[in-house]
């Protein structure tokens, strides 16, 4: 291994080059957004089951105090992001594409920001892995790249190769970029920490070539922290192309291998974590910090103050809007996440979540999508752009005509909803929405199917039971009659009276038995 930094020789199929607009937010150093007067913390903000509230209305909570406990295997803890009083635990608008309400904990902050952290684990190398995993789970850390998958689960397996995802391919977003520029030393330590938990020999940091300053900062930090490169760090520079930051796309860019369909990167002996996640894991272990804040990009042409800010989880968007001095005259829409895969925030009183890496205050015509779409002319630009080598126009055709089994035949579920197809479509067709609709519908139908087959089983079982009962009843009648006959034979005709009595008794018995069941 000659040099730490190298440029990838591989590429993935498709991809697009949307306008980046990163310069809107990556010019200023990281700031603090502060504590809003009210926090609106969503209990279901991670992948998996929503957390169970463990505080009561009126309780005083400190920053870092557990307010929602994970339930089941795939879930995460939720903590108070600042000190204050629990105002209510109720259905509130949440940061979700549907714009619907769900269970939230609303905290009136007191401004003291009194905190309650966990005990730091200074020497993580010497403790049991399970202790570290428990700590990560306790701190409620999830993947901060956008998926919000509980990190403790992703740290569990032992693999040879750790890939740190620093590609940040979505336009507008620059929080990982700034983080690498400004906290490179700590980041390198953090990556070493994650690497030691996973037990990986190699570690590759995948980063797009439009972040030269971040690359330089990392190189410098590696030289400082690990002059002999004992951790086998490599920085793989990938070309700037959306979606190079997609998990499977980045793996192909770095290793040249494709993750087998319907499988995890684990199948190739690879685990991937986002840079910000690595930092959060490190801080949770060495400083005892639970996940109460994250770095978030505030951008968009309608915002006057743009940049990257440490933001408390649960910060309402309307408060951010005030802080960023957004010109509401020209504000068109507020988007959480990037323009390619994010969604529109419909109710501004909902709070940020752990996966809110960016808030875009877009002005009119900035992120405009045409409302009237023309018919598909099958030009195939979408198929060229698709990073998964699907045939988007076929998927669209079948999703639109609701021929879902045909859409599945065209591998609908391999679609990663990256939006490249919609982006290039000259007819402005909302392709991704068609796929999302079709996927939802297929899942619903298969649920119904499962329910139906369950009902059939129960019905068939019942029919069987009724038949068996009928047969048993007939059998009992027959036995009683036989017994009667036998008795009559034994006693002989002389004892006719007794026989009659026995007969009656047997009949009564049978009747008794019958009424029992």
């Amino acid at each position: 291994m000659d040099s730490i930094q190298y440029t990838t020789q591989y590429q993935f199929h498709g991809g697009i080059h949307p306008e980046e607009h990163k310069e809107l937010s990556n010019q200023h150093s990281i700031g603090e957004l502060g504590v809003p007067p009210q926090l609106n913390i969503y209990l279901g903000q991670h992948n998996g089951q929503p957390a169970l509230p463990v505080v009561n209305v009126g309780d005083y909570v400190k920053r870092g105090q557990l307010i929602g406990r994970m339930q089941g295997n795939l879930s995460a803890n939720v903590h108070a992001s600042s000190s204050g009083t629990v105002k209510e635990i109720a259905l509130r608008p949440v940061a979700h594409a549907s714009g619907m309400n769900d269970l939230c904990v609303v905290i009136d902050t007191d401004g003291n920001d009194a905190s309650e952290y966990l005990e730091p684990i200074a020497d993580y190398a010497s403790v049991n892995k399970q202790v570290l995993l428990d700590r990560v789970a306790e701190a409620g850390i999830v993947g901060l790249g956008g998926a919000a998958f509980p990190s403790n689960i992703k740290l569990m397996p032992r693999v040879n190769h750790l890939i740190i995802n620093a590609a940040e391919c979505e336009p507008y977003i620059s929080c990982d970029d700034r983080l690498m520029r400004e906290n490179a030393d700590e980041l390198i330590n953090a990556i070493q920490c994650v690497q030691s938990i996973i037990g990986a020999q190699h570690c590759t940091i995948g980063i797009e070539d439009n972040k030269q300053e971040a690359i330089n900062a990392l190189l410098l930090a590696i030289e400082k922290q690990d002059p002999n490169n004992n951790s086998h760090f490599q920085i793989c520079v990938v070309p700037t192309k959306y979606p190079s930051g997609g998990e499977k796309q980045l793996i192909e860019l770095i290793t040249g291998k494709q993750v087998p369909a319907q499988q995890l990167p684990l199948a190739l002996g690879i685990i991937m974590h986002n840079v910000a996640t690595a930092l959060a894991v490190y801080r949770a272990i060495t400083k005892g910090e639970v996940l109460t804040q994250r770095l978030m990009t505030i951008t968009g042409k309608a915002a006057t103050i743009r940049g990257n800010f440490w933001t408390r989880i649960g910060t309402p968007f309307d408060w951010i809007l005030e802080q960023a001095k957004v010109n509401t005259q020209v504000l068109d829409r507020v988007i959480m996440g990037g323009p390619m895969m994010g969604f529109e925030i419909q109710k501004l009183d909902s709070g940020t979540v752990k996966s809110t890496n960016c808030t875009i205050f877009a002005e009119t015509n900035e992120l405009a999508t045409s409302n009237n779409s023309l018919p598909c002319i099958r030009c195939g630009l979408c198929a060229d752009a698709c990073p998964v080598s699907l045939l988007p126009q076929q998927l669209y055709w079948h999703s639109k005509s609701e021929e879902f089994n045909k859409a599945e035949h065209y591998n609908l579920f391999d679609c990663i909803e990256c939006g490249a197809c919609s982006y290039v479509c000259p007819s402005n067709i909302p392709l991704v929405q068609y796929y999302r609709f079709a996927k939802n519908e297929i899942v619903r139908q298969s649920d119904e199917k499962a329910k139906a087959s369950h009902a059939r089983e129960r019905h068939e079982f019942r029919e069987l039971r009724l038949q068996r009962e009928k047969a048993e009843r007939a059998e009992r009648h027959r036995k009683a009659a036989e017994a009667r006959k036998k008795a009559a034979m034994q006693k002989g005709e002389a004892d006719e009276k007794k026989a009659t009595i026995a007969d009656a008794v047997a009949r009564a018995k049978a009747r008794k038995q019958q009424s029992k069941d």
């Binding site: 018919p375 055709w397 079948h398 639109k400 005509s401 021929e403």
Partner: protein, 194 residues
């Protein structure tokens, strides 16, 4: 050999039974809603047509002509065809129940498929030999199958197109068949059998 090849090309493309001679339109319209069905129907028709042209040749050559009963030709051919179709129906019912159900009424209808009788009668008219009869029958069926499968794939696409309501269904299918026929005109003159 070349002669058989030319005969085959001629029956499949140049004198396509459906698009040029307009025979066998009933199953062409009826069983072209889905590609899978069309492929099944193609196999069934190919089997029936080839077998029927062979059988009818035998019946014509060794029974009707020696006995001077040519006037019974149509009657006997229909008898032969009906038996072959019935036989095919039983085989399909046993081997592929879904296909059997999907082909539905069209399977027995092969009996009255004018293409089948047409092939048998044309064989006699053109004074084809036994091998030629079989090649002709097979070629006719292959041509029928080719356009049927192509047509069904097109219809699957057209069925979900934004066709104006008055043209939906059979109407647009007819127009499409007409345009296909137009395209097949391109093959005319391709093979000149003396």
């Amino acid at each position: 050999m070349t002669n058989y090849f030319l005969l085959l090309v001629s029956t499949v493309l140049v004198n396509n039974f459906v698009l040029v001679k307009f025979l066998g339109l009933c199953p062409f319209m009826g069983v072209s809603n889905k590609v899978e069905t069309a492929i099944g129907m193609s196999f069934a028709t190919t089997f029936v047509l080839t077998l029927a042209s062979a059988c009818s040749y035998v019946v014509n050559e060794f029974l009707l002509t020696p006995l001077g009963l040519e006037y019974l030709r149509t009657l006997c051919f229909i008898l032969v065809i009906a038996v072959v179709v019935q036989f095919t129906e039983m085989v399909i019912h046993k081997t592929s129940p879904v296909l059997y159900r999907v082909l539905g009424i069209f399977l027995p209808l092969i009996t009255t498929n004018c293409a089948v009788l047409g092939v048998a009668l044309l064989n006699v008219n053109e004074q084809h030999s036994f091998i030629e009869s079989i090649v002709f029958g097979f070629g006719a069926a292959a041509g029928f199958s080719l356009v049927l499968v192509l047509f069904s794939a097109m219809r699957e696409r057209i069925n979900v197109a934004d066709v104006p309501l008055p043209f939906r269904g059979a109407a647009i299918a007819m127009i499409t068949a007409g345009l296909m026929s137009l395209a097949f005109m391109g093959f005319s003159g391709l093979v000149k059998i003396s």
